[in-house]
Symmetry: C2
Amino acid sequence: MAETAREIADELRERIRSGDLGPGARLPGEPTLVKGYGVAKETARRALTLLVTEGLAVRRSGSGTYVREFQPIRRVANLRLSEERWGGGRSVWSADVGQRPMSVTELRVYEASAPEDVAQILELEDGAAVIIRDRLFAVEGEPVQAAVSYLPADLVRGSAIAQEDTGPGGTYARLAELGAKPVRFVEELRARMPSQEESERLHLAEATPVVEIYRTALTEDGKPVEVNRMLLDAGAYVMEYRITG
Amino acid sequence: MAETAREIADELRERIRSGDLGPGARLPGEPTLVKGYGVAKETARRALTLLVTEGLAVRRSGSGTYVREFQPIRRVANLRLSEERWGGGRSVWSADVGQRPMSVTELRVYEASAPEDVAQILELEDGAAVIIRDRLFAVEGEPVQAAVSYLPADLVRGSAIAQEDTGPGGTYARLAELGAKPVRFVEELRARMPSQEESERLHLAEATPVVEIYRTALTEDGKPVEVNRMLLDAGAYVMEYRITG
């Protein structure tokens, strides 16, 4: 009857996958596992640790181990970026299907020299000025995404893009008014573990990666007019892309 | 002069980001950090551990800590899925820009009952038969992606899709011949930590997430004809999507 930590973890994982232990449910504690499986306390603890390491469960100190609540925000890039969406005064964010209301909890707008990689993507000279919009987005008070947009200062200085409130339709509607309407977008994604600073800013749970997205917005002529570097709590998001063959 | 582990990690991270310590470079060892910063051995070790935890560095036992080599495979979904690409007898994989040659190191093709989630996506009845193509892909001998395709058995049974070698143009060219040409694709992505089993199958380094992608292929009529569940070594891939606004 005595099993290994891995075998116990396999059984608990199967109960999570099948829904028998739903999101937020408390997993059996160490004493329960010790009795139920006839194993040492150390083995029981290792079984639970395996699930935490996989990101399936979360430990709450002094309380126990719980099934992680994964109620993802569905980020549908194609809906978000279609002109229909942002042309009519709606927020890009409202296109996230099935999400709870998202709010901006931090916002800094300022002018500075472009970082080297951004200058390169925006085809600007070294040290050229950009308007930077640095935002933190939260759902139900919890941060889920940090986003930093860079736009050529020579293009957007003096427009609402350089203000905190960009007005109806946001940055892309203003760019259109400036004769630099974005019509094509490239998103590059990678996933990795966060730095400690990133982990703290996004209040990430243990064993939670981040998804880093660079989005470049291009005009009809192929001129890059914005670079947006986003950092997403991977535990909060499902990303969806629709592609025509 | 004595600094905290975090401050030392900050300085090393900056040297990695700036390229002063390039991919594969050996980081200063504990004795060097102890001398250089005037800190305890334990502090030096914690500084290095922080970088390993962030996925920036990799420990090799008995040898030291090294800057992770990130030479990503660029996975451009839109190129990969365009008809031009797979219509002419080329592999979907050859569209990955700048990648080293990718090979299939494991391949199992068999018929079985569809898992519940797959049956739902493919709009099949519970327990309906599917042809399953289970593959492991490697670059330079190292596994980088596991992919399991599911196709309705009633549609593809008897075609080359049910064989190990699907022939020129692969699965999608065969589907076209069967009158079920895929023209639209939906990819859903999430990033998470791997299970131990996944970690072993993909030979993942410590602190490396996986990217899980479900791709559904649809015909002109919107009929789903394939579900492909891919599991990518996040340390090996950059994903790119091109979107028209």
